[in-house]
Homo-oligomer: 237 residues x 2
């Protein structure tokens, strides 16, 4: 039974704070003067999905069965498009599209589309799983952008720390870790950083990033899904 | 098909910003050091539900059929308890409980439970519909608390303004309206105010309320539902 056959479906909970940030951005991006102008959204916030990054790296159980179930739940709830505010999950993008009637917006495509044409070098900040999966690198290569990833022993530990700190609610520590990464990136002449993990934008609000264009994957995914919903007229019943 | 047979169900979208605030409070109130410690939540954020307050006052269509459908959707998605972060909707509480297998936590009961025993006088700030419905007044009477409501011509317009301002995204204006109400309340010797509309806590963050105990209905509903979920062990799979 569908309350609405056309609504935005959100596969959330990875992590829960990132999903709240995504929902907040979705509401802010929607032009509305009253409740009824907003877009209908169904969110499945299922935090017990096994760790995505660990699974990609071969050191944890696969989250695919639970991700598939959640996609089916959103389809049954009437989703006409699906957003997954978790970058690492996009390792299983093809498998999830297979079980979904509704199109799933790819978070990395949403981000890379926003890169300005003259970008010098883009640093991809993401979990070790996302980087090993390689979908950001492929998307950037496909559009002819030069990219780099953090050094795995001196820089990636700061990304890992930042994500863990945000997931356990310590935003100040998360911001300090991210600030150290931004400072190193500028020293290396990088002009753009993709915050390719949805915990990172939560840490970025407490940083100073002058001279560095930040591409917020949560914001870009929200922008894409709001555009989709507005084009479909879902804000008009 | 249920991704989880035991999760928190949230009937949201009334308004969308208030639902985001509720989700944020729910995440903050959950003791967690990683994603998997959090409580599973399914949110139906359906903003096209007809205006609740107007319907109670007899000047708009009833939202009951859509509210019922949404409750059923949450039950089908596996909700083991349901929260509705919209006070006015509780006018139809009995009718919604009838169609729900999962218990629905009553927002006014969650608030009134938090009033300290020695409270002198509680001001109920809410929509005209909620006040006309009378469920807050009945709950306060039932527990022996003295209460008052805003004067309908000089004070309630400030409540109405505040709610409308928050719904259209103007937080500064909403805070100014609410500040004026707090100032009048203190002059009248009131010591407690129930923010009995989920838009009001969003306005309250920009106010000065010293000497006035604020009972935030969004926070109290979140607290009740998190307590329910933790008691059921839904954070442990």
């Amino acid at each position: 039974m569908h309350a609405h056959t056309n609504c935005i479906g959100v596969l959330g909970g990875m992590g829960p704070a990132a999903t709240v940030d995504f929902m907040s951005k979705l509401v802010s991006l929607t032009p509305a003067s009253c409740d009824q102008d907003h877009l209908p959204v169904v969110v499945a916030n299922l935090p017990r999905i096994p760790d995505r990054s660990a699974a990609i790296l071969g050191c944890g159980p696969t989250p695919l069965p639970v991700l598939r179930q959640s996609i089916q739940l959103l389809n049954e709830a009437g989703a006409g498009v699906i957003a997954i505010p978790c970058n690492s999950s996009h390792h299983w993008y093809a498998e999830l599209c297979e079980v979904s009637l509704a199109p799933i917006i790819h978070i990395a495509q949403a981000c890379v589309r926003r890169l300005p044409a003259g970008t010098r070098e883009t640093l991809v900040l993401a979990t070790r799983g996302t980087l090993a999966s390689g979908f950001y690198q492929r998307e950037l290569d496909g559009r002819g952008f030069r990219w780099s990833v953090p050094d795995s022993t001196t820089e990636q530990p700061l990304v890992d720390d930042c994500i863990r700190q945000i997931k356990c609610g310590d935003r100040a520590a998360g911001s300090a870790s991210l600030q150290a990464l931004f400072d190193r990136a500028r020293e290396r002449g990088i002009d753009t950083a993709i915050l390719g993990c949805t915990e990172l934008p939560l840490a970025a609000t407490g940083t100073e990033s002058a001279g560095l264009l930040l591409i917020d994957s949560t914001l870009e995914l929200a922008r894409s899904v709001v555009d989709f919903g507005l084009r479909c007229g879902w804000n008009h019943g």
